[in-house]
């Protein structure tokens, strides 16, 4: 990849990253951290790429471990964030019963 293009992308992404979270209230710090945590689980596509390019059994094993770990990060991250945020949703009094039922 052309290093200058790469640098451009990185610098712009840094500014976007700073900007999108600059005005978040402390109430949402935990879900935001958890959501950002889920997003870096996208390393999964790197793990898949590596696992798909090797024919060596040992390397494949290590790559598959990486796939399992990355999937746990990605799937678990989004699920737990959603669970936290579900509680912030405006709800009717009846909502309390359904929640207790799922426990």
């Amino acid at each position: 990849m052309d290093p200058i293009t790469l640098l451009t992308v990185v610098v712009l992404a840094v500014f976007v990253g700073f900007e999108v979270v600059s005005k978040v209230s402390s109430t949402l710090h935990t879900p935001l951290m958890s959501g950002a945590n889920a997003i870096h689980g996208i390393i999964l596509i790197g793990a898949i790429t590596v696992a798909g390019q090797t024919l060596n059994l040992w390397l494949l094993t290590v790559a598959l471990i990486a796939v399992v770990l990355a999937t746990a990060n990605l799937v678990g991250g989004f699920v737990v964030t959603d669970r936290m945020l579900k509680m912030f949703a405006p709800r009717k009094p009846a909502g309390a019963d359904t929640k207790d039922a799922t426990k």
């Binding site: 990849m1 992308v9 992404a13 500014f15 990253g17 700073f18 999108v20 979270v21 600059s22 005005k23 978040v24 209230s25 402390s26 949402l28 710090h29 935990t30 879900p31 951290m33 958890s34 959501g35 950002a36 889920a38 997003i39 870096h40 689980g41 996208i42 390393i43 999964l44 596509i45 790197g46 790429t49 590596v50 696992a51 798909g52 090797t54 494949l60 290590v62 790559a63 598959l64 990486a66 796939v67 399992v68 770990l69 999937t71 746990a72 990605l74 799937v75 678990g76 991250g77 989004f78 699920v79 737990v80 964030t81 959603d82 945020l85 509680m87 709800r91 009094p93 309390a96 929640k99």
Partner: protein, 457 residues
């Protein structure tokens, strides 16, 4: 086999990257947060489908099985874990993400060409390993497997410096020779650095470290994107690295700490370990019935919930108590310290789970001037966040942390399990104040008794 042209692949990755930006944006506001998270998940799904369609991959059945295994492990844990244990879970997922990035980098070492790509490989391995072991230590601390007290020993700074230096040397050899042996040495040194970085951090600061390690993993993922020539990984990783850094600083300032002070404070000698001594000074303890009377005839009650409430699963009972008191004309508000619970915003999540209306939750800056006009401050399972030592004793490990001024209320009632000091391990002067009453016992149990006593009045 490859169904997508490189152009289409890039466009789909671009869409996924936009989804991630929208996800972070959405997560910054309560109204759009949940939708934001779903957009992020959709972007991730799109990216994973794209990677299967864009390149000729071997071992597809094995990869699919590995994905199924990862999902089968993570999804049920995420659904079932108690909300009180959520910080550990976030740390755990962060750690395995960092570990995955480090492994990807090791495997790509043989294919990487050019010194800069090799530097990116080294960076990914080192930072990924630091994030993995650092997160493992935070999980241990939060779960109580390791003492939450700062773990320090003489010469720690020297040991740390030597290991970091060794890691840099190993990294240099990896770049120069590309030898697997050096790569493994680098990984092991990275693991050591991560553990030594987090072990000296005191319990109360652990959430900030989780956020910092989250940003680290983001950077490792971005570097792995450079290694693999994948722009989506570069963009997503950089986004998380940047937003994670901002978030870490916001959390630290909510606690009145500097990030470097938290990480390196222990290295500078001056121990942040609190005193463990339990004093035998007399305190005034009471029973649930008396506290119920006190609350019932108050004009204004401020409830300060803390981690003890969450542990006792008393959030539903306290919500009911608040409703009952309000029905009798008592003004009840919840004062939420920014770091109540184990993480910033953690207590809001727990109380929202118990159906406490969003408007009753007051942030610290809003509620602190109102304590003067408060009849009773009811502190349930909180300690460090109301400890006046943060203002009065410069030697205290929590000195400088903003606190809730419950001492200004006319009466203070503490619901506590025992006289044991809080998470930071320091004693609270306020407990011995003449206007303070203590009610010992499990928070939920005490609240239930108080609730029935109020109902009987």
């Amino acid at each position: 086999m490859s169904l997508l042209s490189p152009e289409w692949t890039s466009i789909l990755y671009l869409i996924a990257a936009v989804c991630f930006i929208l996800a972070l944006k959405g997560l910054s506001s309560p109204k759009t947060a949940r939708r934001g998270n779903l957009i992020g998940a959709a972007g991730a799904l799109l990216a994973v489908i794209t990677v299967f369609l864009s390149a000729r991959l071997d071992n597809i059945p094995a990869i699919l099985i590995a994905i199924a295994v990862g999902s089968a492990i993570a999804a049920p844990i995420s659904r079932r874990v108690e909300m009180t244990q959520m910080p550990q879970l976030v740390a755990l997922f962060n750690g395995v993400g960092g570990g995955a990035a480090a492994l990807v980098a090791v495997l790509e070492l043989g294919n990487s060409e050019g010194p800069w790509v090799k530097v990116a490989v080294v960076f990914t391995m080192l930072v990924g390993a630091v994030s993995f072991s650092g997160s493992a230590v935070t999980v241990g601390k939060l779960q109580g497997l390791i003492s939450s007290r700062p773990l320090i020993f003489p010469g720690l700074a020297v040991v740390m410096g030597a290991i970091v230096l060794a890691a840099l040397v190993a990294g240099g050899f990896v770049v120069a020779t590309g030898a697997t042996g050096w790569a493994i040495a680098l990984l092991l040194l990275g693991l050591l650095v991560g553990a030594l970085l987090v072990l000296p951090v005191g319990g109360a600061d652990v959430p900030i470290v989780i956020s910092l390690l989250n940003a680290f993993t983001g950077l490792a993922v971005a570097a792995s994107g450079i290694v693999l020539g994948n722009l989506l990984l570069v963009v997503a990783g950089t986004l998380v690295g940047a937003s994670g850094t901002i978030l870490t600083r916001a959390m630290a300032s909510a606690m009145g700490r500097g990030v470097s002070g938290i990480l390196f404070g222990a290295f500078k000698g001056g121990s942040t370990a609190g005193s463990t001594a339990q004093s035998d000074r007399p305190v005034r303890s009471s029973n649930p019935e008396d506290v119920a009377v006190l609350l019932n005839y108050a004009q204004r009650v401020v409830i300060v919930p803390g981690y003890g409430l969450a542990v006792a699963q008393g959030q539903h009972t306290i919500a009911e108590l608040a409703t009952t008191l309000e029905a009798r004309g008592v003004e009840v508000v919840f004062a939420i310290h920014p770091v109540a619970g184990r993480m910033p915003g953690h207590m809001n999540v727990l109380l929202a789970e118990a159906n406490v209306p969003y408007e009753s939750l007051k942030e610290m800056a809003e509620v602190n001037p109102e304590f003067k006009n408060t009849d009773v401050a009811l502190v349930v399972g909180a300690n460090d966040v109301v400890n006046p030592a943060a203002k009065t004793s410069p030697g205290s490990p929590i000195y400088g942390m903003p606190i809730l001024d419950v001492g200004e209320a006319r009466q203070v009632v503490f619901l506590k399990r025992s006289m044991r000091p809080g998470f930071a391990g320091i004693e609270n002067e306020l407990l011995f104040d003449p206007k303070t009453t203590l009610l010992f016992g499990d928070a939920k149990d005490s609240l239930t008794k108080m609730l029935s006593a109020v109902n009987a009045l």
